[in-house]
Symmetry: C3
Subunit: 309 residues, 3 copies
């Protein structure tokens, strides 16, 4: 079956320079993850923002999983016992969240429950800074964000960032609202540092960081993978990033962190390209995107462009 | 006009065994309810979860009613004075809800205001259990839920369930997130017990329970009605059940509880079948479903399959 | 370029009696505002209700801007320093909002930050009345609402309303839920009084009030502009008014209050007419409306019917 999978993927591999081989074991892990989501409809719960909570749930369902959302520690801890992974997004905060998220992430750390953090608008507002700072002690399995958020979180956690591409001291670390003020490559060093830190804290030493942008960047702290592709229309609907975080949690229910982060991002690139081709604007794009999430095959996901470095 | 209505319904009745006759008075009550919603655009307010609140409102509008949403007791009590029914859904709770819902349901009980309860994820989390347990003292007019929720609520309220189909003691009562872990038929005894209890508490002795699933089950505590039909795509969008609860409240503004529960469920079955036929996945399905809610005629609603027992 | 703009607008001006001339400077201000939104993708943040928060964000993105949403004073004040305008909507309140909104609007008043108020359901509930009454001391730059909300807010703030069309004392001031119980013309005096009051409080003496309805009414307190057009389907989706308020804030980032209120309302009329022509019900209408928001040109916006009085 490995041969068959590999052939199915092979036929779709494009000619991007440095593209991972069709029979690379990582592609098979991604294909198996995508197939397992379709086969087992895993439950990933979310503690997420009010703006895009509906889109996160619908994206998880369309990708093949199921969804449950809550803001109470007692719910989240109860559901964590029956679900494979949790998605936490700090987009729209309420006053009681700091206490709730402390309790929740402490419970996750104690049980080894795997979760995805989306540090939306990291750096903005005293509450968000306090919440994200707290999480250094009980860190997630995967962090997914835009470049500014990844850079800000690594700085907030005082992680040693040694990459040449890194920012000089003159950078204004304040994000531009919820949009990234930095490009993906400028977050390379922060992403690697963050992934190494997360991996040092997980029970099995596995973790990943995904930086979303024109070319997505995913790393486990050692290898860096770049995913070209996707549609710019994703920046014209709200929740593209949030729902990718949610679907990453869906994939994390059935796969290792690196395969989960890569698989979800590849699915998003493929589905958004297809949706853009049939849409007439951001309204129909959003619906066609959900349709395509539903339709893209595991083989098509696993055959997307992946440039390893 | 009764004859005309009956004829219009007659022509559409399918040949399901045990199907209610075209001139059954219940079908005419359902048709009148659907027509009254279209003619009077009744206001049903909601206290509902953050995931699907937008879809609930849009479904109520598309079904012919109007919507208002709030989480404050002072708002809800004010609006109850000018609306026909209220929808309460305990999906995503905030810490202050227990106190607010106590005040709200006490006010409803005092004034005889009619309301629909959606016991989402009953059994999960200490807050939800406390809130649902409280409601035994000030119960709703209609409960709509999936099989697991109906079974759990009847157990929580310690209602005598005497049906043969009922679950043995070995059942794990913990629900599988927000999805049902039980099939509709296993909730038959609980649904009847719950409906009888609700009917014993309403001013006019009328109440209903609706169990949603592949074949919906609706009962007033005496007769059990089964509604085959609908589309499995309803399980691939979030809010199918929540919005049905909201539309049931819209129908309850103009009809008795049984006709309201049946009418809303029949509308959903018909609209989802039609939407599935023209959709390309869960994204376009959701929009086509709202279109079809808007377009299905009262006669088409009243002529859906209803198997009485 | 003024000539070119004027010609582009000229060719589209319809023959409604009293329609503003194609070369009226106000049309050029509106065209420039629409073009500036497309060119600069301005960030307008929102403190808005849970029902339509997703639609508000998507409408702002489709209109050409970007969005950020929060409910915490610390976030809102931080973001106000980096965005052009804020949208505040009092639709679904939580208990802590009164304190938060006091802090937020005081900060806006101190810095001269411009904002749009949407007094949803004004008159309903003790909390909402307290919040809206508070805002008299720190008023917005623009108020956008339906007729009942505008009348209620002017009364709540005890503004002198001297218009002949005004309501007699026998009017029941209680709104009909979130729908208007009054027609647009009955709010004429209240809208003018409100606009004059707002203009007396802003740093530059500029303000506007927009009353949405079958024929929208916009005023700066001196001149009254009526905007016929738009589609009745806007009343069959939730969030038509809320999202117009959000897009008005987007326009306020780059334009004076009157041009912002007129431009956003004209965009809405044109986009809703186009969407209605291609839709099959409220579901597809909502998506086509977002598509059209994205596609309507600045010249098409500026050439909409505007009847000045």
């Amino acid at each position: 079956m490995g041969t068959t999978n590999s052939n199915a993927i092979q036929s779709a591999i494009s000619s991007v320079a440095g593209n991972l081989a069709a029979d690379d074991p990582l592609r098979l892990r991604i294909r198996d993850a995508a197939a397992a989501v379709r086969d087992t409809t895993p439950l990933a719960q979310s503690f997420t923002n009010f703006v895009t909570i509906n889109f996160v749930a619908n994206a998880q369902l369309a990708a093949g999983g199921t969804a449950a959302m809550s803001f109470l520690a007692s719910d989240i801890v109860d559901i964590a016992a029956i679900c494979g992974a949790t998605y936490v997004n700090v987009g729209t905060l309420l006053p009681f969240y700091r206490h709730a998220l402390r309790e929740i992430t402490a419970a996750f750390a104690e049980t080894g429950h795997r979760w995805v953090l989306d540090p939306v608008a990291a750096g903005l507002g005293a509450d968000r800074t306090a919440i994200l700072t707290d999480m250094r002690a009980t860190p997630p399995t995967i962090v997914r964000g835009n470049a500014s958020e990844i850079i800000t979180l690594a700085a907030m956690w005082e992680l040693p960032v040694d990459d040449d591409n890194d920012l000089d001291d003159s950078r204004d670390s304040r994000p531009n609202g919820v949009e990234s003020a930095d490009d993906v490559e400028s977050a390379l060093g922060a992403a690697k540092a963050l992934a190494r830190f997360l991996a040092s804290k997980t029970p099995d030493g596995e973790a990943a960081v995904a930086v979303s942008g024109a070319v997505d960047l995913v790393t486990d702290g050692e290898t860096v993978y770049r995913l070209p592709g996707g549609s710019a229309m994703m920046t014209k609907i709200t929740g593209a990033g949030c729902s990718l975080g949610g679907v990453t949690a869906t994939y994390l229910c059935v796969a290792d962190p690196l395969a989960a982060a890569l698989g979800a991002s590849l699915l998003y690139n493929r589905a958004s390209e297809r949706a853009a081709a049939t849409s007439d604007g951001p309204g129909t794009f959003q619906q066609h995107f959900l349709d395509e999430l539903w339709k893209v095959s595991p083989a098509a996901i696993a055959s997307g462009d992946i440039v390893a470095e």
